[in-house]
């Protein structure tokens, strides 16, 4: 106990008193203009809510597209029925050597027919045909659809490949999928930046109006030797509080959309395959709070104080 008392005796009290004074001053600053603060929070909260909601839908759409892209990344090179084992082996070796091809597996005619019976679009064809109309194929896993062009170049003209329909999709189709995915990603990032930019501008306008409204007070504080950093503390607190509260409002909106809107959309438009938004919700919530704080705090440092 005596040791504790001695240790406490060494700790200077003034830093604590100073921090308490600073917090009190910041609160006093904020308290008198709660109306303006509230309006700003509503404005920034609305901007962030719209942005995060759209972002959630875009992310879910992007994920759905990615899933479709994964399916598209499974490319088949159809084999000629008359292709010999040597020809098939040579072709397999050439395909496996292509950059971007991660795996090559053989699918026999019997396996192809068995799969077709389970496919809603091909089952009718499988039942109607007397023989087995489905060709054997090499199933390739591609790292990205753009690799399809090289696969087609390699397969075209090979004696083991069916000359009429060499592969399951064309290079142009692969390019379109790739472009769509890239566009979704650009759209997501663009929305992020626009939302944060608008939020930062609104916050900057608030902080500037605060400075204008309190210019006289700040001038006096500067005159009596209050450090400029200390004068900025209430502005920093204000920017932080606006960022956090507006972000929380946006997160609430996101929660509402995630729990009610997304399931409803998924139910009425199942082909969209939006799925569960939980992962996107967590990421977007944390990201929104962090990004808005990072965007608004510099605003408090950018506004000019009176000299």
């Amino acid at each position: 106990m005596r040791v504790l008392r001695r240790v406490l005796g060494w700790i200077p009290v003034w830093p604590f008193v100073y921090v308490v004074s600073l917090v009190g001053y910041s609160w006093r600053w904020q308290r008198r203009r709660l109306g303006v603060w509230f309006v700003t929070v509503v404005a920034i909260g609305a901007v962030l809510s719209v942005a995060t909601t759209v972002q959630l839908l875009v992310w879910l759409g992007e994920r759905s597209l990615s899933g479709q892209l994964r399916d598209a990344s499974e490319m088949q090179v159809f084999l000629e029925d008359s292709a010999t084992a040597d020809q098939q082996a040579a072709l397999r070796a050439r395909l496996a050597a292509l950059p971007g091809v991660t795996a090559v597996t053989y699918r026999s005619k019997a396996q192809a027919q068995a799969r077709a019976t389970h496919d809603p679009q091909l089952s009718a064809l499988a039942g109607a045909s007397e023989g087995n109309p489905f060709p054997a194929s090499f199933v390739l896993q591609l790292s990205e659809p753009r690799v399809a062009a090289e696969v087609l170049d390699t397969a075209r003209g090979d004696p083991a490949v069916d000359p009429s329909i060499p592969a399951s999709y064309t290079a142009a189709q692969a390019r379109r999928l790739s472009t769509a995915l890239a566009a979704m990603q650009v759209l997501t990032w663009g929305l992020d930046l626009v939302a944060l930019g608008v939020g930062a501008l609104v916050a900057l306008a608030l902080l500037r109006s605060e400075i204008r409204a309190r210019r006289e007070e700040l001038r006096i504080l500067v005159l009596v030797g209050v450090p400029r950093l200390v004068i900025r503390v209430p502005l920093l607190v204000q920017a932080l509080s606006v960022a956090v509260v507006a972000s929380l409002a946006a997160v609430g909106c996101l929660l509402l959309v995630g729990q009610h809107v997304v399931p409803a959309v998924d139910q009425s438009l199942p082909f969209l395959r939006l799925g569960s938004p939980r992962w996107a919700f967590t990421t977007l919530s944390v990201g929104t709070i962090a990004a808005s704080c990072l965007a608004l705090l510099p605003c408090a440092l950018l506004v000019r104080l009176p000299r």
């Binding site: 001053y25 006096i220 009596v224 030797g225 209050v226 450090p227 200390v230």
Partner: protein, 241 residues
């Protein structure tokens, strides 16, 4: 052009940047061939003066002569263009912008328009700068009350500035200026807006500070004040065209 009544030999002081060793020359002011002014306009040229600790100095002169400019120079709002200006042991020519606030905390300043914060009580007006500017000051509340007591306003500590007379408001400003126990008090026309009775109250507060060893530099155009209170007078004349 400034023509002090007593242009004294300037002590060749070493320029001291604001720092731990800036304590030499506490309470004194030394200017040697100092020029200062605003953008493109030189208001003060080749000013030399020497104020020792504990002096009560009045700076007098007509409007526009440069009284306020001189005080702004002494207060660190203006930088000397030429010459050497050392205030309270601090060489203003070498004062970096980030050190200006720290330098000002060594001084007290009183303005003609009081510069009180209207939404704070009398006590808070004295206390807030103490709390925010004088970080390591102990018992700021007691200091603020003591300062108000010195100017005879301890019974008005909960009043808002609007509830006080002009003289009382100026005394609150003086309490704020002396609460952190500066060695120099600068005052720019502190009684310019006051009647005779209020002026006497305010001047008593300045006298009390000076009696305790503080240096007072006051700009005024009131001859009565000059004759009644100043122990030394510096006269500023407008610069010839």
């Amino acid at each position: 052009m400034i023509v002090p009544d007593s242009v004294q030999g300037v002590h060749p002081m070493e320029g001291t940047a604001l720092g731990p060793n800036a304590g030499d020359g506490r309470g004194s002011i030394r200017l040697a061939d100092v020029s200062a002014g605003y953008e493109g306009e030189a208001v003060l040229t080749d000013v030399s003066l020497d104020i020792d600790p504990g002096q009560f100095v009045c700076i007098e002169g007509p409007s526009g002569a440069g009284k306020t400019t001189l005080l702004r120079l002494l207060y660190g709002s203006l930088k000397p263009r030429t010459g050497v200006a050392v205030v309270d042991g601090v060489d203003l020519g070498q004062l970096r912008p980030r050190h200006v606030a720290r330098f000002r905390r060594r001084l007290g300043c009183v303005f003609q328009s009081y510069e009180l914060l209207p939404h704070l009580t009398t006590l808070e007006n004295v206390l807030l700068p103490l709390q925010l500017a004088q970080m390591d000051i102990s018992r700021p509340g007691d200091r603020a009350v003591d300062a108000l007591d010195q100017v005879g306003l301890v019974d008005k500590m909960d009043s808002m500035p609007a509830e006080l007379s002009c003289g009382q408001q100026q005394r609150v400003a003086i309490a704020r200026a002396i609460a952190h126990e500066p060695s120099i008090l600068l005052a720019d026309e502190p009684t310019g807006n006051l009647d005779r009775v209020a002026t006497a109250d305010v001047m008593r507060a300045f006298e009390a500070f000076n009696d305790q060893g503080g240096t007072v530099v006051m700009a005024t155009h009131d001859e009565h004040l000059r004759d009644r209170y100043a122990r030394r007078v510096l006269r500023i004349q407008p610069q010839a065209a």
